[in-house]
C-alpha cells in the first residue's frame, strides 16, 4: 500500500458508486420503460370489458435517445413527445380520444430505449442490440441527421421501417434505401424561402455562418443556389465552424468587412446565442438576419440574446403549440398536464417530432394489421404512397421512390415585440415583414438578475 489516503479514497468512491448504482431510480437508465401499473390495469380492465381481445404482450418500440451531449435538450423533448404518444394511445386520450382498441393492434405500446449521449456510435450499438438481441417490434429514430444516417443501414439490413422524423438532411434519402421515410421537413425548406423575402426587399448579397453538421450544411447548400439565382445575388462569404468553436471574432469581423445585405446563421442552441451576442459586441450587422434552428427555444435564445436584440430576426417555423393543426390542441394539453406548460419551449418542434413518429406508425399499423410487424416493407409502401396523413407537424406526403417528404413546408417568422409573427409565405402570413430595424449594437442589453 503506497499511500493510505488513496486506499481511503478508493473505498469511499466504491461505496459511493454502489450507492449511486443502487439508488439510481430517478433517472431513466433502465433499458425498458413500462407504463405505470395503474394505467396498465385500467387499460386491461377497459379492454376486457369493451372488446374481446385480451391485452397480452406489449408492442415494443425501441431506439436510442440523446439525453446527454450536444443534443441533450432536443433529445429530451423528443422523448417527451414519444412518451406522450404512448400514453395517449394506450389510454385512448388526447388525439386518440375514443379510439376503439388499446395501443397498437390491441396491444399496449412499450418504449424501450438507451441513452446514446448524442454519439452516433453508441446509437449504432443500441439499435443493433435492440433489433437483434432484444427483438423490438418497431424502431423509432435517434435524434438528428447524423445519427439517423448512421443507423439507416442497420434498419435497411434488418428490414425495419425507419420513420425518420428528426433527420432533415436530404442526402440520407438519396442513397436508395428502401426502408426509410422522411417524416419532417427537408433541411432545404427550413429557411429556403428566405431569398423570396430578400427579393421583395431588394436585397441580393449574403454571408453564411454555418455549423459543420449534416443538417446545416445541406440547408446552406440549398440556400446558396437560391440566392445566386436572384438578380445580382451572390454569397459574399461562407464560414464553417465546429461545435467546439466559441470565439467567432475572426468569422464575424470578416462578415462585417464584407457588408452583406443578409447574414444567415445556421447554428443550434447556446452556440446561436453566442454568435448573436458576439455579433452585437463587434458591431457587425446587416439589414436582414436569418437564423435556422438556433432560435427555436424561448428559454434559450430569447433568454440568452434578449428580446431587444432578437427583434427583427427572421427564423424558421415548423410548429408552434398555437398552430391551428388537427391534434395540436390535444397535444399541447397533454404536454401541459404531464410536463408543465408547453409555452416555455417556444417553437421547438422536437416533441412534435416524437408525437409525429407515433402518429405515422399508428396510421400504417392500423391500416395493415398484424403482418406489419414481420413485413415492415408494407409500412413503407403505405406511407410512401399515401395521399396525405395528418400529423401535428402538418399534413404529410412522401415521394414514392425515395421516401423524401413532399408536403411539409415550414414558414418563416420574425420576432416582433418579443413575439413570433409568421411573415412568409404570404398565404399564411400573420403580419408584414418589418425591415430594416435599429442596428444590433445599439440595442438595450439582456436584463438579468445576476
Amino acid at each position: 500500500m503506497r499511500n493510505r489516503w488513496s486506499l481511503v479514497f478508493v473505498l469511499l468512491t466504491a461505496l459511493a458508486l454502489v450507492a449511486t448504482a443502487c439508488g439510481d431510480s430517478t433517472e431513466v437508465t433502465v433499458t425498458s420503460v413500462v407504463t405505470e401499473t395503474e394505467t396498465v390495469t385500467s387499460v386491461v380492465t377497459s379492454v376486457v370489458t369493451e372488446t374481446e381481445t385480451v391485452a397480452a404482450e406489449p408492442i415494443r418500440v425501441g431506439g436510442s435517445v440523446s439525453l446527454a451531449g450536444f443534443n441533450a435538450a432536443v433529445g429530451e423533448e423528443f422523448l417527451r413527445g414519444l412518451e406522450l404518444w404512448r400514453d395517449m394511445i394506450n389510454n385512448g386520450t388526447g388525439i386518440y380520444e375514443g379510439r376503439e382498441t388499446v395501443g397498437l393492434l390491441g396491444r399496449p405500446v412499450e418504449l424501450v430505449f438507451s441513452n446514446d449521449e448524442s454519439s452516433s456510435e453508441a446509437a449504432l450499438r443500441t439499435y443493433e442490440r435492440l433489433i437483434t438481441q432484444e427483438g423490438v417490434d418497431f424502431i423509432f429514430p435517434p435524434f438528428g441527421s447524423g445519427a439517423t444516417g448512421t443507423i439507416a443501414p442497420i434498419a435497411e439490413r434488418e428490414q425495419k421501417a425507419l420513420i425518420a422524423t428528426t433527420a432533415s438532411a436530404e442526402t440520407i434519402y438519396e442513397q436508395g434505401l428502401s426502408y426509410i421515410v422522411m417524416g419532417v421537413s427537408p433541411s432545404s425548406k427550413y429557411i429556403g424561402r428566405a431569398p423570396e423575402i430578400m427579393a421583395e426587399q431588394g436585397f441580393a448579397t449574403a454571408a453564411f455562418l454555418t455549423l459543420n453538421n449534416p443538417f446545416t450544411l445541406a440547408s446552406s447548400d440549398f440556400l446558396r443556389g437560391e440566392i445566386e439565382a436572384l438578380d445580382g445575388g451572390a454569397v459574399l462569404s461562407e464560414d464553417l465552424f465546429e461545435f467546439a468553436t466559441n470565439d467567432f471574432t475572426a468569422i464575424l469581423t470578416g462578415v462585417g468587412a464584407a457588408s452583406p445585405d443578409v447574414i444567415v446563421i445556421q447554428a443550434f442552441g447556446t452556440q446561436a446565442v453566442t454568435i448573436y451576442n458576439q455579433m452585437a459586441d463587434l458591431g457587425v450587422d446587416a439589414p436582414m438576419i436569418v437564423m435556422s434552428a438556433g432560435a427555436w427555444r424561448d428559454d434559450v435564445f430569447l433568454a440568452g440574446a434578449g428580446v431587444a436584440k432578437a427583434e427583427c430576426l427572421i427564423a424558421d417555423h415548423h410548429w408552434n403549440p398555437n398552430d391551428d393543426i388537427a391534434g395540436n390542441a390535444e397535444f399541447a394539453a397533454g404536454y401541459a398536464e404531464k410536463y408543465g406548460s408547453i409555452a416555455t419551449i417556444g417553437s421547438d418542434p422536437s416533441p412534435a417530432m416524437g408525437l409525429t413518429y407515433g402518429q405515422l406508425l399508428t396510421y400504417a399499423v392500423d391500416a395493415i394489421g398484424e403482418s406489419a410487424i414481420d413485413d415492415q416493407s408494407q409500412i413503407i409502401d403505405f406511407l410512401r404512397n399515401t395521399d396525405g396523413l395528418q400529423t401535428v407537424l402538418g399534413l404529410q406526403t412522401f415521394d414514392p421512390e425515395t421516401g423524401k417528404n413532399t408536403a411539409l413546408t415550414p414558414s418563416l417568422i420574425q420576432f416582433q415585440g418579443g413575439e413570433r409573427v409568421i411573415v412568409w409565405p404570404p398565404e399564411v402570413a400573420q403580419g408584414d415583414v418589418m425591415l430594416p430595424c435599429a442596428p444590433l449594437a445599439g440595442r438595450p442589453e439582456v436584463v438579468t438578475e445576476g
Partner: protein, 338 residues
C-alpha cells in the same frame, strides 16, 4: 564448499539443460494456450453466440484486441507511447470506405489496400515523430493525428467531411459471420507477428530501446530504423482493423474513427492489461470492451464514471497492468512469458 572442477561443470551443464527444457516447455504451453483460444474463438459463432448482435460484439472485441496488440508492438516494446493511432485506424477505415463506396473496389481489394496504404502512412508518420523523444513524442503523435482528422474533415469533396457516408448496400447485407472470421484471421496474424517479434533479435533491439535508448545506441543499434519499422508494422495492422471497422459499422464519419478517444482507449487497454506482454493487450482489449458494453447497456449514464474508476484503481494498485503485475509476482513461474 569445496567442489572439484568436474562436479562444478556437470552441475552447470545440468542447470543449463534444465533451464533450456523449462523454456521449451513454457513456449509449448503458451503456443498450446494460444491455439486453444484461437479454436475457441473460431467455434464461438456456431456454438455459443445466439444472434447477429452478439456476433458483432464478438467481432468488435476481437478488433480491439488486435488493435491493442498492434499498438503494443510499438508502444509496449519500445516504450514510445503513441496517442496518434486513431489517425492510422481512421485512415484505414477511410481507405475501405471510400474505396468501396466511391471507387467501386471489391472488399478483398480494399482491405489489403488499407493494410498497405496505412503502412506507408505510418512509415512517414513514424519518420516524422520518432525523432522526438519522451513525453514530447506522445503529444506530438496526438497533434499529428488531430491534424490528419482536421484535414480529412476539410477535404469534404472527397471524404464527405463531418456528414459521413454509408458503405454500399451489398456490403451491408453480408452475413455477419464473414467479417467475424476475417477479423479472427487478422487477430491471429497480428498476435503471431507480435510474438515473433518478441522472440526475435529485432524484438530484443526494441526492448533495449525501451530500457535505455542511449545505451542501445552506444551498442551500435540503429534505434531510428528499429523504431520506424515497429511503427510501420503497428500502423499497417491498425489500418487493416480500421478498414474492418468501416465495414462492420456500415457508415463512416470522422467522429466514429478519428477522435483522440480511440487512441486513448487503445492505450488504456494495453496499459491496464499489461504493456510489453502478448496476453496483456488481449486481456485488456477483451476486458475493457466488455466492461464498456456492459456499462452502456445497464447504466448508460454511469459508463464514463465506471471506466474512469477502473483506470484510477488499476493505476494505483496495478501499475504494470493486470498481467504485468501477475507475471512479476511471486506466484508466477519464472521465465514463463505470455
Amino acid at each position: 564448499m569445496h567442489m572439484t572442477s568436474q562436479t562444478a561443470r556437470s552441475r552447470s551443464k545440468g542447470a543449463a539443460a534444465a533451464y533450456r527444457n523449462k523454456t521449451k516447455t513454457y513456449r509449448r504451453v503458451s503456443i498450446a494456450l494460444a491455439a486453444l483460444t484461437a479454436v475457441g474463438f473460431a467455434a464461438l459463432p456456431t456454438f455459443w453466440l445466439a444472434n447477429t448482435y452478439q456476433v458483432r460484439v464478438a467481432t468488435l472485441v476481437m478488433m480491439w484486441m488486435g488493435l491493442a496488440t498492434a499498438w503494443n508492438i510499438v508502444s509496449g516494446f519500445t516504450g514510445y507511447i503513441s496517442f496518434g493511432h486513431a489517425a492510422l485506424f481512421g485512415s484505414g477505415a477511410y481507405v475501405v470506405g471510400l474505396g468501396t463506396a466511391r471507387y467501386d473496389l471489391e472488399l478483398w481489394v480494399a482491405l489489403p489496400l488499407s493494410f498497405v496504404l496505412v503502412g506507408a502512412l505510418s512509415f512517414f508518420f513514424g519518420l516524422l515523430t520518432l525523432r522526438i523523444k519522451g513525453h514530447y513524442f506522445a503529444i506530438a503523435t496526438l497533434g499529428v493525428a488531430e491534424a490528419i482528422r482536421v484535414l480529412i474533415n476539410y477535404a469534404r469533396s472527397i471524404t464527405e467531411g463531418v456528414v459521413g457516408f454509408p458503405l454500399p448496400i451489398d456490403l451491408i447485407l453480408i452475413d455477419p459471420k464473414v467479417p467475424y472470421y476475417i477479423m479472427l484471421g487478422g487477430l491471429i496474424a497480428v498476435v503471431i507477428t507480435a510474438a515473433m517479434i518478441l522472440s526475435s533479435d529485432f524484438g530484443i533491439r526494441l526492448l533495449a530501446i525501451r530500457e535505455d535508448e542511449a545505451g542501445a545506441e552506444a551498442l551500435g543499434i540503429n534505434t531510428a530504423r528499429s523504431k520506424v519499422i515497429a511503427f510501420t508494422i503497428s500502423g499497417a495492422f491498425s489500418g487493416f482493423f480500421g478498414g474492418m471497422f468501416a465495414w462492420i459499422l456500415n457508415f463512416l464519419s470522422p467522429e466514429s474513427v478519428l477522435t483522440p478517444f480511440v487512441s486513448l482507449q487503445v492505450a488504456v487497454m494495453v496499459i491496464v492489461g499489461g504493456m510489453g506482454t502478448i496476453v496483456g493487450p488481449l486481456a485488456g482489449g477483451l476486458g475493457f470492451y466488455m466492461l464498456s458494453e456492459f456499462a452502456l447497456v445497464t447504466a448508460p449514464r454511469l459508463n464514463l464514471l465506471l471506466l474512469g474508476s477502473v483506470l484510477i484503481v488499476s493505476m494505483l494498485f496495478m501499475r504494470r497492468g493486470v498481467f504485468g503485475t501477475l507475471m512479476a509476482s511471486r506466484f508466477w513461474p519464472r521465465g514463463f512469458r505470455l
